[in-house]
């Protein structure tokens, strides 16, 4: 996905070709997708890029209502023709692969909507001439995988897990857990949680978990992903 670097002639050409048979970046109504791409351009496309120019002038006419256009902004690299290498910076972090185990505790990535569903959804969202739409309340969340290490191989891991799960906080939800051998008969507890970024931080979690000094030697963040 992506148009390449839209501040270069090459990127603009990709955009121009992409828009030859489309009125909008996504679907059939102006959306946040158009605003993301519009904002990424450094200026008006030249006259020889007639499709990009047409699109640019059209989207410009929505400047006053751009905040209320339907859709949610995605990173620039996710728009555009399929098969293009995403050369934008700031692409969301790829999920870390665990070295120790094969089982994916967090399941698959967010599902991509197929074209048809996206179109129908956008058609429902757009009023005929009104550009209003409700803005969903976005709560920033992260999914965190914690490694909790005991003192030795005789530590009661069931008790340790109980202690960890007893930690209750607003904006914290515990997920699945498993015991992972780390050598010498010692097992670490790998436990997942989902936190609301505004309410829960990893520092806090570490403090609370390591407070169980009888069981917990240390805690590390094994993986951290924005949801």
């Amino acid at each position: 996905m992506g148009f390449g670097d839209l501040k270069t002639p090459a990127g603009l050409k990709v955009l121009n070709d992409f828009l030859a048979d489309k009125s909008y970046i996504e679907g059939y109504v102006p959306s946040q997708a158009d605003i993301v791409v519009f904002d990424a351009l450094s200026g008006v496309p030249s006259a020889d890029l007639c499709h990009a120019l047409r699109w640019y002038n059209h989207i410009k006419s929505y400047q006053k209502e751009k905040a209320s256009l339907p859709g949610v902004k995605k990173p620039l690299g996710q728009y555009g023709p399929a098969g293009m290498e995403d050369t934008t910076v700031g692409v969301p972090a790829v999920k870390d692969e665990e070295e120790d185990d094969d089982i994916d505790l967090f399941g698959s990535d967010e599902e991509e909507e197929d074209e048809e569903t996206k179109r129908i959804k956008e058609e429902r969202l757009a009023a005929y001439n009104a550009k209003k739409s409700k803005k969903p309340a976005l709560i920033a969340k992260s999914s965190i995988l914690l490694d909790v290490k005991p003192w030795d191989d005789e530590t009661d891991m069931a008790k340790l897990e109980q202690c960890v799960r007893s930690i209750q906080m607003d904006g914290l939800v515990w997920g699945q857990s498993k015991l992972v051998p780390v050598g010498y008969g010692i097992k670490k507890l790998q436990i997942a949680c989902v936190v609301e970024d505004d309410k829960v931080g990893t520092d806090q979690l570490e403090e609370l978990i390591t407070a169980f000094e009888d069981y917990v030697q240390s805690m590390d963040v094994a993986a951290f992903n924005k949801i």
């Binding site: 048979d21 007639c50 047409r54 929505y62 179109r119 005929y128 001439n129």
Partner: protein
């Protein structure tokens, strides 16, 4: 080669179009229409005994009935452009000959190069009636013709996806064949 395009205007098609337009405008109570003459011009009889005659007249009346007058244009300039294309639909597009189709497509393709809609930056009655009127032509276009008149194809695909417009007409598949390089004017 362009195939048979001048479909004889049938009463059924003319009335289906008005019915679709009513739905598009959100009018709950369907009107009863009749047609007159060889060309099957639509007629709307009102309660007072007088009649509205003609597609554009009736369509404009429906827009007012639905209180969607912005669909006729919301500035003097846009209103003029809308009228221009409504007139084009009835005088140039309807009942045109095979030779005229090529000219029309070329004109439209040039016109639509820098435009997303027929008039201004929003959907108007001009888009609806041009869409209904040109549908049978676009349906018959070969892939390379859709490519040749790319701006018309793009506008057509947009309008047929516009909420509430398509109704009685089957969707036309518009696939961009990447074998043909995009032609510059």
């Amino acid at each position: 080669r362009l195939r048979l395009y001048c479909v004889p205007v049938s009463a059924k098609m003319a009335l289906k179009e008005l019915s679709s337009l009513e739905k598009c405008l959100g009018l709950k109570k369907p009107n009863k229409y009749s047609t007159q003459g060889e060309k099957k011009v639509p007629v709307l009889q009102n309660n007072q005994g007088s009649a509205l005659v003609g597609l554009v007249t009736i369509a404009s009346h429906l827009v007012c009935e639905a209180q969607r007058t912005e669909l006729l244009g919301d500035s003097a300039e846009q209103r003029a452009v809308v009228q221009q294309w409504l007139e084009y639909r009835v005088t140039r597009l309807d009942g045109c000959s095979k030779d005229e189709v090529k000219v029309i497509l070329k004109e439209l393709n040039q016109y639509l190069e820098d435009k997303v809609y027929m008039a201004g930056n929003c959907f108007t009655l001009a888009d609806a009636l041009m869409y209904y009127g040109i549908h049978h032509i676009i349906m018959e276009l070969a892939v390379e013709e859709k490519e040749r008149y790319l701006n018309v194809t793009r506008w057509f695909d947009h309008i047929q996806h516009y909420p509430g417009v398509r109704h009685h007409l089957p969707p036309v598949v518009v696939l961009r064949n990447r074998v043909y390089p995009s032609s510059q004017h």
